[in-house]
């Protein structure tokens, strides 16, 4: 008996020591396959499956994060240069732009915008650019497509795109770019920019009507009057009037080439029934191709073997060389072999996996903020010692977005052009302490807005000249919010001393319409109420669901609301149009949610939007900002500041808020990652052993008690 116990003890000791000695290399918590360990794989995540991956439909940031790496429009934003600069991507050079009058006579570049009836963009493409390998291009020896008419037998063995054993490619031509423009106009595609593009591209409206009843696969041969095939590598787009911002649209995935073969391939019902559609399996020319798409679990991008030669930029803005951002200058792109996006809905597991090194980058959720970032005495931000110890890098960038509190200008209480209403709005603007809001609710991750334009957009002004003089004063080298006394004085002048309407003698009650009604929003809504209370105004929160809120906005029944706008492109037109009278939400169903209308502002906007950047345009932009600050249809809220964390092995990092295709520039030091992951993830076994011993300690007396009891029962 004794000998058996000794043997058991010896065996246990041996197992434990073996397990413990093997721990150095063990990574039990590694969620990835061991075969990926040394590869340059980037691990990222998504919280919600993207709705669309068709470049004619996709229009949100999470979708662009994927398709930006797959589809290539003719132009792109330079990765390093600031201000944001466009450069050719699949185009040979920037487009040749020509202006014409109504008779078709070519005009000079310097002619006034009102004389220009049409603008033509001649786009010249690089030769030799090919689509990614895809079964849609596969042909047999006779030149017939192998998979354009799949039989039931073939379909039975297909569950995803990888089940096609043959794939081919072909060269991209101007026809493919034209075909994509045609797709934008097809009613079945539901492109979010279709209506906008119909306003600009000549003949697109007529084309859309003409093809409304036709199948998508039959539209390739039908011409559009405003889009012309010049030759294999050139096409021409004719737009109405002058619209300089059109070039920015040409840098968005909407204008990427699309192969007609892809539409024919994906239009087969058998594939649609298996969720194999163009909306889920893109066919692009970019550095990566989507090889696995399970939007319920993970999506995987791999290097496109047909990707055309592309090189890391050799110039950037000042300081880029010192930051090591030009070390890869001239190197062939892309650097990363594979990108894996994993569905990770909750922030806590994501954050913990980032700290274990299983995600390469992370944002910072508010509950992890204090763990990651601390503020220095000067108000700057820096990483905590824990993060520094792991070699984590922090990058911050003010987003090209503006969040504002809008006043419905059609509302008799807060809207209109009267001096009373204007002063009321300005008083509220002073009372709403957005600096406090940023500190309390955003962990300091934001910049209070001084006007319509966010930083990074042409016309944004810093320093004393850039402040909103109705809300801020300049002191100690920074903008300082005016005191609440100034706001109270404005209230008196507006006829609302201490928040009492001097005409009726009743307290002023205003209504705040919002879709934020969850428990997390309660504190924020209370804070709004308190800000208005500073002026004696009672703020009634009318919280509702987003549908009802939108309905109220469309019908003009909202009084005060909060809304935001994220730049489509780095041009002030993309922000000022939110206040242009012709885009009023109630009257025209446009994006001017405040329904603001000012004849002078509208005139300046029409002038400014057609101008090239320069001193003249800047002067107009300043005037427009001044008008809006004076009228205060918006209470300029804030521009969010993005905080991102990256592990030390993640390189070539520079925030670029305009470009969607930055993955190709990034680099991963896979060996360093392997080492650090091993170091950070050694399993800890001793608590398990303690647990087993404790369990035994509890069990033994119980067994003894049972034996005793059994003996008593027997007796």
């Amino acid at each position: 008996m004794k000998r058996t116990s000794q043997k058991t003890c010896l065996l246990l000791t041996l197992i434990v020591s073996l397990v413990l000695s093997g721990c150095d290399d063990l990574q039990l918590n590694n969620p990835y396959s061991d075969s990926e360990a040394g590869q340059t794989v980037l691990y990222s995540s998504f919280t919600e499956r993207p709705k669309h991956l068709d470049p004619a439909i996709s229009y949100s940031a999470n979708e662009y994060a994927l398709i930006g790496q797959i589809y290539e429009p003719p132009f792109q934003y330079h990765y390093l240069k600031r201000p944001y600069t466009l450069e050719p991507l699949t185009a040979e050079k920037m487009p040749d732009i020509s202006y014409f009058d109504a008779e078709g006579k070519q005009l000079s570049d310097k002619v006034d915008a009102e004389n220009i009836a049409f603008t033509e963009y001649l786009i010249t493409l690089q030769q030799g650019i090919k689509f990614q390998p895809h079964p849609a291009f596969a042909k047999d020896k006779q030149g017939n497509f192998l998979f354009h008419q799949l039989s039931q037998q073939q379909l039975d063995s297909i569950n995803s795109l990888v089940d096609f054993k043959v794939a081919d490619s072909r060269e991209v031509t101007a026809e493919d770019y034209i075909y994509q423009i045609k797709r934008l106009a097809h009613p079945k595609i539901h492109s979010p920019v279709a209506e906008l593009m119909k306003q600009h591209i000549v003949g697109l409206t007529e084309f859309s009507k003409q093809i409304a009843k036709k199948k998508l696969v039959n539209i390739a041969s039908i011409p559009i009057s405003g889009v012309e095939f010049v030759n294999q590598y050139q096409y021409r787009i004719r737009i109405k009037g002058k619209y300089p911002q059109f070039i920015y649209w040409l840098a968005m995935p909407f204008f990427s080439p699309m192969a007609w073969e892809a539409d024919v391939f994906y239009s087969q019902q058998g594939l649609i029934d298996k969720n194999i559609t163009l909306d889920w399996y893109p066919v692009g020319t970019g550095p990566y191709m989507l090889v696995e798409n399970n939007p319920n679990r993970r999506m995987v991008l791999e290097k496109n073997p047909e990707f055309h030669p592309a090189y890391y930029p050799s110039e950037g803005e000042e300081g880029d060389r010192e930051r090591g951002l030009l070390e890869d200058a001239g190197e062939k792109l892309p650097f990363i072999d594979k990108v894996v996006y994993i569905l990770e809905k909750e922030t806590i597991p994501y954050w913990n996996k980032f700290l274990q090194g299983y995600y390469d980058a992370s944002g910072i959720a508010s509950d992890s903020f204090d763990q990651a970032v601390q503020f220095t005495g000067q108000g700057g931000e820096e990483l905590t010692p824990l993060m520094k110890g792991k070699g984590i890098q922090l990058q911050t960038a003010v987003a090209t977005s503006t969040f504002y509190m809008g006043f419905n200008m059609l509302n008799p209480e807060v809207g209109g052009d009267s001096e009373r209403a204007r002063k009321l709005r300005r008083a509220i603007a002073i009372a709403m302490d957005y600096e406090e809001h940023i500190a309390i609710f955003m962990n300091g991750r934001g910049v209070s807005a001084q006007g319509v334009l966010p930083p990074g957009i042409y016309g944004y002004q810093t320093g004393q000249a850039g402040i909103n003089p109705y809300v801020y004063d300049w002191g100690n080298g920074q903008a300082q919010r005016k005191s609440i006394e100034v706001a109270k004085q404005l209230m008196i002048e507006a006829g609302y001393a201490e928040g009492i309407d001097n005409k009726t003698g009743e307290a002023l009650i205003l209504y705040f319409d919002t879709a934020a009604s969850g428990p997390d929003d309660r504190a924020r809504l209370n804070w709004y109420r308190k800000q208005f209370e500073k002026l004696g105004i009672q703020l009634v929160i009318r919280a509702t669901d987003y549908n009802r809120f939108q309905q109220k906005m469309r019908s003009g029944n909202a009084q005060i609301f909060i809304w935001g706008w994220n730049a489509d492109y780095p041009d002030p037109e993309n922000f000022f149009f939110l206040l242009y009278g012709g885009h009023g939400k109630v009257k025209y169903g446009g994006e001017n949610a405040a329904n603001y209308q000012n004849a002078e502002f509208d005139r300046l906007f029409e002038q400014m939007r057609n101008m090239e950047n320069g001193s003249e345009r800047l002067k107009i932009i300043r005037k427009m900002e001044a008008i809006v600050r004076y009228d205060a249809p918006w209470l300029f809220g804030l521009h969010p500041k993005n905080f991102s964390l990256y592990h030390s092995w993640y390189q070539n990092l520079k925030p670029n808020l305009m470009a969607n295709n930055t993955m190709k520039y990034k680099r991963i030091d896979a060996l360093k990652r392997v080492e650090l992951r091993k170091k950070w993830n050694r399993p800890v076994f001793w608590p398990l052993i303690v647990l087993v011993i404790m369990f035994g300690a509890i069990l033994i007396p119980a067994i003894n008690a049972y034996r005793r009891r059994a003996k008593e029962t027997m007796q």
Partner: protein, 325 residues
Amino acid sequence: MIQYIIRRFLYAIPLLFGVNVLTFVLFFIVNSPDDMARMQLGQKHVTEQAVENWKQQRGYHLPLLWNDQQQGIKKVKETIFYQKSVNLFLFQFGISDSGRNIGADIKQRMWPSLAVALPTLLVGLLVNITVALMMVLFRGSYLEFSSIVLCVILMSISSLFYIIGGQFVIGKLLKLVPISGYDGGLDAIKFLVLPVIISVIAGIGSGARWYRTLFLEEVNKDYVRTARAKGLTETQTLFRHVLQNALIPILTGVVVVLPLLFMGSLILESFFSIPGLGSYTIDAINRQDFAIVRSMVFLGSVLYIFGLLLTDISYTIVDPRVRLS
């Protein structure tokens, strides 16, 4: 028996129809087809024309339940309700409002849900019955008292705490399993260990106490006294006689949930990034995707009805005295 099953199936039809109408009415009280279109089309540059086009293409331009513009049977057939709901009875779930085949999505997502739910059910059953039997075995002792206290404590803790705590201790501090994730085939095991352990522990409190009650009810019966009198030990009595006789309520309780295992668990799947059906319905509600919502509610109802039928049948198997008529 067969007649009984057929009758139950026939009862299910009006029941499912009622569930369908209720889901439809509730959904469209909150969301209009316009809202759905705007949700699908995004926030920027959405025009009335685009909204109309979307509704036309997806069949949401029709009246909800009754079409006055049509004649005869078309008054019913040319409505959103008819067009969207009838095929459900043939288990054709159709295409979601975002354009994906719902049937294919359900097929793909039900297996991960099952992969978590089935081991949780089996291991949980085993652990709960064992703990309950131990409590009965040591009834009246400090062990039973401490176990009851422990069960009450375990019952009182929120399931979210178990999940976050489990991820923190086992995944983050001890680094014994991945914190979250999922993989196909045998690779799934390392991802399933933690959610299964957590689910089992979270269920011990209520499960063990419930089974203990069932066993205690049995141990005072005459046949147990007889078993003891003929000299069987306490363990023999418990495992051979008590357990067998307590199986009826245990089995019926288990059988009723079997079909619903496919439906998954919302919080657990969300925290462990398990691509199951648990979050499918909630995601669809958030995205105002009526096609998925109606399909999932319909499927849930069918499975529940099926579960109840299975329970009835299982009664006859475990207790020959029960006859279905």
